[in-house]
Amino acid sequence: MQADLVIRNVVLNGEPGDLIVQQGRIEEFVPGGTESVQGKEEFDGQGFFLWPSLIDVHVHLREPGFEYKEDINSGLKAAIAGGFGQVMAMANTNPVNDSASVTEFMLEQARKFHPHGPFLHPIGALTRGLAGKELSPMAELARAGCRAFSNDGLPVENNELFRRAVEYSSDLGLKVIDHCEDVSLSEGGLMNEGEISSYLGLKGIPVVAESLQVARDILMAAYLDTPIHLAHISCRQSVELIAWAKQKSIPITAETCPHYLVWDESRVQGYNTLAKVNPPLRTRDDVLALQQAVREKVIDVLATDHAPHAEFEKDVPFGEAPNGISGLDTALSLCFGLVLDGVFDNDDLIRLFVNAPSEIFDLEANTFQKGDVADFFLFAPEAEWEVRPEAMFSRGKNTPALGQKLRGRVMAHFLRGRLVFERAI
């Protein structure tokens, strides 16, 4: 028998074997390997893990408007090299993604530079201009290709408007992703409010600025019996509220980011602007609560909140620096580090980065069953690499991981059975 593609001697779920791909779909994984199938194309996967392409439901690709930070081309390159086959891009571009023409432009850029993927799914603005005043034309955005709606970065403070936005979007079958922040409590804040902020003399952002809004969303989702997805959860209080909501079967889903699982607020010491992010890095206790929450499925999804910035923008006094961590290049290795540390296992990682996002946002994912899309990558678990600016594909080099040695790298990435990225060794 002849197949389009065969990956030989690769390890899937701890078992070595051969992966057979036909017409961009998974045909079969044969444990122990097979001699009877020949591939038109063959790759030797010796020493590599076979992983399904990850889905990142929260990135900022900065185009249109902020191409000096990142553009769709560079952002998608970082995605594919970082293990992501699909990304969902937030709407805080300039102009804001609140019209079909912006959505179409973004999709066109993605197709132009990456015709075979990774695939971009724009997220439409929840309110026009992200101004929190009136609803955006959600049906128009959905028709143009938006897969969710969000006011990320500029949370909707008006509860009535938020309610109507959730109702209206549910009609279109698309979810609202809420950035939970009570701006009256966080205004002017620069880092987590606590011991370190009090010593550094930096205005703090209290955890209640997040958790109060999480509570609002949970109660709203319950009242409307309509799902809401909570973006970048950063603290124990929010986790406890979400656990309560799930116990009550309230339709709430939530994500956190790798940086909240690996770093705490002490990273800010020395006024390190690379660790300035919103919501801020919290305490060690919050980190532990989040680690437990992703293990126990209280938090459903991992997302990077990839927020690239130009180097000069972070090379300023702490108070002036923009929020954000560049995440696409490092997310997988940081999380694999957590696997090596025993925080969770590979199955958890795949659930958090593939299965759950695919279910919540209705995106196609690969589970290595016959007929699944052949989106996968070869992962070198032993490869050690140092996070240096030149080792990153994103234009934004702003990560506290700079200078850190990480384990695990994507060596080759296939989408729909086609090789779209191979790391030069």
Binding site: G194, E195, L200, G201, V316, F318, E320
Partner: protein, 308 residues
């Protein structure tokens, strides 16, 4: 004394021995400052930039005078007269200044960490003259030095810092310096003007001024920034003055020879009564005099340290 520091960013950098060395040096300059001819040629040929990106009168004048008394050339640069207002980044302003080869830059800035940011980017000495809410090391050193002029030792002394602790770089630096010199520090303010995690600080916290004053050896009053009311942290200044204004009745609760201090500028009738500010126990003008001497000591030590 070997001086390992390029910059003075915060008193936490300094060992107690180094702090005492600064005091010792300042004592000589205090004496010189009281002579008819006050200028010494020690720093002739050195240049010091006074870069004040936030309004300041006394600290800048004090540094200016300190530099000139040591025969260094000083150059003042304020935010309104600089390119910072034209959108130049702090880093570019600093690199431009450095290219003119000053020996030290004294910086005042509204962002916490601004002095440390400059120190990382510049080869010359950076002296922090106040960064945001973070640190004001020369103020703490002059406060400590002023007290050494009246006390033999800090052991067992109780010092109360009164007022807007949350937004005060003076309070942060004073707490650090005074506790390390052996004093016990109390803080007193309404909760809205205390840092969120103040219970982790090495201090005793009061919200009642009468109780806070019982048995204290010195009170450092802080200036109340009038915008705190607008920010919703206080009902109004009248209520603040009634609850937290230091007045004569508090003297009766304190030690007999209690000392009254204030970093200035004062809001008379709000955080401190005029009677106390001008009274026999006030060290407020001694602080100003000490300020010049301490800043001379700092310029002297940093600009003449070995291995520059």
């Amino acid at each position: 004394m070997h001086w390992p520091h390029k910059d003075l960013l915060d008193v936490s950098q300094l060992s107690v021995e180094e702090i005492r060395h600064i005091f010792e040096t300042a004592r000589h300059f205090l004496e010189i400052n009281r002579r008819p001819i006050k200028k010494v040629p020690t720093l002739k040929g050195k240049s010091v930039v006074l870069f004040f990106a936030e309004p300041s009168t006394r600290t800048r004048t004090s540094f200016d005078m300190a530099a000139k008394r040591l025969s260094a050339d000083s150059f003042s640069l304020s935010k309104s007269g600089s390119s910072l207002l034209k959108g130049e980044s702090l880093k570019d302003t600093a690199l431009t200044l450095q290219a003119m080869n000053p020996d030290a830059i004294v910086v005042r800035h509204s962002f916490s960490g601004a002095a440390e940011f400059l120190a990382k980017n510049l080869r010359c000495t950076v002296i922090n003259a106040g960064d945001g809410w973070h640190a004001h090391p020369t103020q703490a050193l002059l406060d400590g030095f002023t007290l050494t002029q009246v006390w033999k030792s800090f052991e067992g002394k109780e010092v109360l810092i009164l007022g807007d602790i949350a937004h005060s770089r003076v309070a942060r630096s004073d707490v650090d310096l005074l506790t390390r010199l052996g004093a016990r520090v109390r803080l007193c303010a309404p909760k809205t003007l205390l840092p969120y995690n103040v219970k982790k600080w090495p201090v005793t916290v009061f919200t009642d001024l009468d109780r806070a004053c019982e048995g204290v050896d010195a009170v450092i009053c802080l200036r109340l920034q009038l915008e705190r009311q607008e920010a919703g942290l206080l009902p109004d200044l009248r209520e603040y003055a009634r609850r937290y204004g230091l007045g004569r009745k508090h003297l009766a609760l304190a030690k007999d020879d209690v000392k009254i201090m204030h970093p200035g500028p004062m809001n008379r009738g709000i955080e401190i009564s005029s009677e106390l500010a001008d009274g026999d126990q006030s060290l407020i003008l001694d602080q100003v005099e000490a300020g010049v001497a301490v800043r001379m000591a700092i310029l002297f030590i940093y600009l003449l340290r070995e291995g520059r």
